[in-house]
C-alpha cells in the first residue's frame, strides 16, 4: 500500500487499480462499516483531508477538476466506509454522472416528510413546539400499508 498521507484518524493511499493516475483513497483508521457508526465531528475531519487532497491534485498534479466520493460499507470498494478523491481532466473519458428521473410532487413531498421526521431526534418529535419553531416544516409521515420498518426488516437477509 502506497501511503500519501496519515494522521491520527485517517490514512490516504494510492489504490492498486486507480480509475485514473492520481486517484487517492482515504479510509478512517477505525474501520466504520457505515455512516451511522461515524462519531460526531469525524465526517468533517475526513472531508477536510479529502478537500486538501483535492487541492494537492489541483496544485501539484495539474488536475482540472476533482470528484470526491464517499461510499459507506455496503457500497464501498473497501467493504468499510471510504472516500475516493479523483483528479479529472476535460475529455478524460470518465463519466460518473447519473440519469436523474423526474419525480412527481407528491412523491417528493412524501420523501421530504420521511427524511425530516427521521432527522429530528426521537425524544424531540413529541415536543410539538420545537417542531413548529423549526425552519423546515415537519409533519409525521403517514405510513402506507407497506410500513417502511417492515420493508427494512424484510431486506435483512
Amino acid at each position: 500500500m502506497i501511503v500519501v498521507y496519515e494522521d491520527e484518524r485517517t490514512i490516504a493511499f494510492l489504490p492498486a487499480r486507480p480509475i485514473v493516475p492520481g486517484h487517492v483513497r482515504i479510509i478512517p483508521k477505525e474501520a466504520f462499516r457505515s455512516i451511522e457508526d461515524v462519531p460526531e465531528g469525524m465526517a468533517a475531519h475526513y472531508f477536510m483531508v479529502a478537500g486538501s487532497i483535492a487541492s494537492a491534485l489541483f496544485d501539484g498534479m495539474g488536475a482540472e477538476g476533482t470528484n470526491i466520493i464517499m461510499n459507506d460499507g455496503p457500497v464501498s470498494p473497501e467493504g468499510t466506509l471510504s472516500i475516493d478523491v479523483i483528479p479529472r481532466k476535460q475529455g478524460d473519458g470518465r463519466d460518473f454522472k447519473w440519469e436523474g428521473k423526474k419525480q412527481q410532487d407528491k412523491d417528493l413531498e412524501e420523501a421530504r416528510k420521511k427524511i425530516t421526521w427521521e432527522f429530528i431526534p426521537p425524544e424531540m418529535r413529541e415536543k410539538t413546539e420545537i417542531v413548529q419553531s423549526s425552519a423546515v416544516p415537519i409533519e409525521k409521515p403517514t405510513l402506507s400499508k407497506d410500513d417502511y420498518l417492515i420493508q427494512f426488516y424484510r431486506k435483512i437477509p
Binding site: 501511503v3 500519501v4 494522521d7 494510492l14 487499480r17 486507480p18 480509475i19 493516475p21 492520481g22 486517484h23 487517492v24 460526531e40 465526517a43 468533517a44 472531508f47 477536510m48 478537500g51 487532497i53 483535492a54 487541492s55 494537492a56 496544485d59 501539484g60 498534479m61 495539474g62 488536475a63 482540472e64 477538476g65 476533482t66 470528484n67 470526491i68 466520493i69 464517499m70 461510499n71 459507506d72 460499507g73 455496503p74 457500497v75 470498494p77 475516493d84 479523483i86 479529472r88 481532466k89 460518473f96 447519473w98 436523474g100 423526474k102 419525480q103 420523501a111 420521511k114 427524511i115 425530516t116 427521521e118 432527522f119 425552519a135 423546515v136 416544516p137 420493508q151 427494512f152 431486506k155
Partner: protein, 337 residues
C-alpha cells in the same frame, strides 16, 4: 480563506450569484422541498433524483468550489451531511449511502453553487461513481504521484489548520516546498511563453538552467527536465549530443534576474503545437540570441500584465471550478512557499 479572493474573482462571483437558481432557493425566492436548514447550510430534495430521497446539501452563501469554502462552513456542512445520511438511510430504507461532490466542469459540476449530493444506495444499483477501479499503472508514474502528494498534502493541511486550529493537531515546525508532477509542470510551461520558447529553441541551455536556477530547480523536484524536453522537441537530446559537449566547455550560466518573474499568461494555448523549430540548428545559442530571448520575455511580461487582467475580468459567470487553482504561475508558487 475567502479573504484571499482577488477583486476580479469577487466581481465574477457577484455576477454568478445574481443568476444562481440555488441562491434564489436559499433566500426563499424560489420554492423547493427543504429537508434541513441552519444558519449556514441548507438541504433540499433533488427534483430529478438519482434515486428517491436524493438530497442536495449546500452552503447558503454562494461558493463555486469546495476549495474556497471557508473551513468553518465546510465543517458544518459535512457534520450536517453525516446526520442527513443517517436520517435518509432510515427514511428511504436503504442499505448504503453515498456522498458525491464534483469540483469543476471537467469533473461534471453542473451548478455554479457548490453542493454535496447525498444519495441513498443499494449494492446492486449500478451507479457509475461506485465503479472505482481501473487499470494498474507503472512504477515510475506511481513514484511521481507519491513524491508529489506525500509532500504537498501535509503542507496544505498545515496551512488550513493555521487558520482553523484543531485541538488534536500539533503544528509542525519545519516549512516545506510544494512539489509539482509532470502534468502540472507542463501546465506551468504552457502559461509561461518565455520558458516554453527556451525549451523549444534551446533545449540544452534549458537543461543547464535547470541545474542552477533555483526556481527551475524547485519546479523539477519530482520531474526529469530531460523528459520535458523530449515532450516538446522529440529526439532533441539524441541529435544534439555534440552541442552538449560544447555547452560543457562553454560559460557557466548563472540564474537570470528576469526569470525570477516569469510572466503568468491567463490564456494558455492548449494545443501544444511546438511552433517554429529553427532553434534546433546544430549550433549552440549565441550571446546575441540570448539577449533576444531576454528582451522578448520582458515584452511578453509587459503584455501579459495588461492582457492578463482583462482575461480574468471577462471570466464572468464562467469560473469553471478550478478558477482559483487553475491559474497558478511560478509567481504564485513562490508566494506559496
Amino acid at each position: 480563506m475567502e479573504d484571499d479572493l482577488s477583486p476580479e474573482i469577487r466581481k465574477a462571483l457577484e455576477q454568478q450569484k445574481a443568476n444562481c437558481i440555488f441562491c434564489k432557493i436559499m433566500s426563499g425566492e424560489v420554492q423547493a422541498k427543504k429537508v434541513a436548514e441552519d444558519d449556514l447550510v441548507m438541504a433540499i430534495l433533488d427534483i430529478n433524483p438519482a434515486r428517491p430521497g436524493h438530497i442536495l446539501l449546500m452552503p447558503k452563501e454562494h461558493y463555486p468550489i469546495m476549495a474556497i469554502l471557508p473551513q468553518h462552513i465546510q465543517d458544518r456542512l459535512f457534520e450536517m451531511a453525516r446526520l442527513l445520511c443517517k436520517a435518509q438511510k432510515k427514511a428511504m430504507v436503504t442499505h448504503g449511502s453515498s456522498i458525491f461532490i464534483a469540483n469543476g466542469f471537467p469533473a461534471g459540476q453542473q451548478s455554479q453553487h457548490f453542493m454535496v449530493h447525498l444519495i441513498p444506495r443499494e449494492p446492486d444499483d449500478r451507479m457509475a461513481f461506485s465503479a472505482l477501479s481501473g487499470e494498474e499503472i507503472g512504477e515510475a508514474a506511481l513514484k511521481e504521484i507519491h513524491a508529489v502528494l506525500s509532500n504537498n498534502i501535509p503542507l496544505i493541511i498545515e496551512k488550513k489548520l493555521e487558520t482553523a486550529p484543531k485541538e488534536w493537531h500539533k503544528p509542525r515546525e519545519s516549512g516545506g516546498q510544494m512539489v509539482m508532477g509532470r502534468n502540472k509542470v507542463l501546465q506551468i510551461i504552457e502559461q509561461n511563453p518565455g520558458l516554453k520558447e527556451l525549451i523549444l529553441k534551446h533545449p540544452q541551455e534549458f537543461l543547464r538552467e535547470c541545474k542552477t536556477n533555483p526556481q527551475l530547480m524547485s519546479l523539477f523536484q519530482a520531474v526529469d527536465p530531460a523528459g520535458i524536453v523530449e515532450h516538446y522537441v522529440p529526439g532533441a537530446l539524441m541529435r544534439t549530443n555534440t552541442i552538449g559537449a560544447d555547452g560543457r566547455n562553454g560559460e557557466v550560466s548563472t540564474p537570470r534576474e528576469d526569470s525570477q518573474h516569469l510572466p503568468p499568461d491567463y490564456s494558455p494555448k492548449r494545443d501544444a503545437n511546438p511552433g517554429p523549430r529553427e532553434g534546433l540548428k546544430r549550433e549552440g545559442p549565441s550571446k546575441e540570441k540570448k539577449g533576444e530571448i531576454k528582451r522578448k520575455r520582458r515584452d511578453e511580461e509587459d503584455n501579459s500584465e495588461s492582457t492578463g487582467r482583462e482575461g480574468k475580468g471577462s471570466d464572468d459567470g464562467n469560473l469553471d471550478g478550478d478558477g482559483k487553482e487553475g491559474d497558478v504561475s511560478l509567481d504564485d508558487i513562490t508566494r506559496l512557499l
